[in-house]
Symmetry: C2
Subunit: 176 residues, 2 copies
DNA sequence: GCCTCCATGTAATTGGTTACATGATTCT
DNA sequence: AGAATCATGTAACCAATTACATGGAGGC
């Protein structure tokens, strides 16, 4: 019963503060899902597995049958070991970028529409990330790692938005 | 027997030119795997499915029992429909970026090591992509879409390499 | 009373990875 | 003769998505 990437991500969140399965699900939806999409139907069974392995424990229970989990000492050790001693998978999976390889199948105007649309989505997310970055106090060392993570998002979205605009112009050039 | 993203990607490649399963596997390994990782053990069964659906046909056979496949008219239509009429999944999956959310678990010097290592990998790939871009003739409209795809890779790797360097400096600042 | 959000789970299916298995051809 | 590369496939397992299923609590 080996524990995978999702398990380690849950451990990482629970290392910060105790949470219910529902809260973990929302944290994924709001931030981690941008790099590691997950559904509640995967989170609940995974929590059961982590508990069975002694890496988390149920630290309380609240209204509507909610259960709060916390990382155990072994859990903390495990997530640190994962961060230090294991090599992250190189792989990135993005259908949006995959499709770029097949844009030649479309007439130039439709390819441009596709690129403009994805540029728009990147700009949207860029604005959201910048808004989040703006409210992180820049002098608090506690938040520094959070700021570093959001900066990755900002630079990624910004680079892709610029690329999309550039690509639209490239296509316009060749059409003339 | 619905056809998924991998099936459409294979159709897209076969729309360009006929290929054997082995050649498709290599094309994935060399370029498409950066955005859609796949193994030969998934490609061969998928080709059988596409053939059964009439979207590709076996167009020949060569040495060592190799089989060459080509997209049929229906296959071409299907991949164009996919590009035009379906919305790509928003999701991106990258363990490397997931781990950035948990860098606070490590002491600053180990977090810096992680960031320097991923920065190095991004610079490596950037160099490879730039080398590929350099040999694409910039005036050939046939290659323009390929150039646009590689430019996305260049900008992505470049942005992430810069981000990693910036992050290392941020950590150094807070340590002092 | 109804709607929304909170809250947890299971079942069925599809997608993806790792391991197993085999054999031909070419290069050294 | 042995190693590397070409070439195709299957089986077992694990990960992920979609659909099913249920119920409490609070607001309107």
């Amino acid at each position: 019963m080996a524990i995978g990437t999702l398990g380690h991500a849950l451990l990482g969140l629970l290392a910060q503060r105790e949470c219910t399965g529902y809260e973990l699900t929302r944290t994924f939806d709001e931030s981690l899902a941008h790099v590691w999409p997950t559904k509640h139907s995967q989170i609940y069974p995974e929590l059961a597995k982590l508990q069975a392995a002694g890496l988390i424990r149920q630290s309380g229970s609240g209204a509507r049958g909610s259960k709060t989990y916390a990382a155990t000492a072994e859990g903390l050790e495990e997530v640190r070991r994962w961060m230090r001693d294991t090599i992250p998978s190189e792989s990135v999976r993005t259908e949006r970028m995959l499709r770029v390889f097949f844009l030649w199948l479309l007439p130039p105007n439709e390819a441009s529409t596709y690129l403009r649309e994805i540029g728009g989505r990147h700009r949207e997310r860029l604005a959201r990330y910048e808004a989040i970055a703006a409210i992180i106090p820049s002098d608090d060392p506690e938040d520094r790692m959070g700021r570093i993570a959001i900066e990755a998002g900002i630079r990624y979205e910004s680079a892709m938005a610029d690329w999309a605009s550039w690509a639209v112009e490239e296509i316009a050039k060749s059409a003339s």
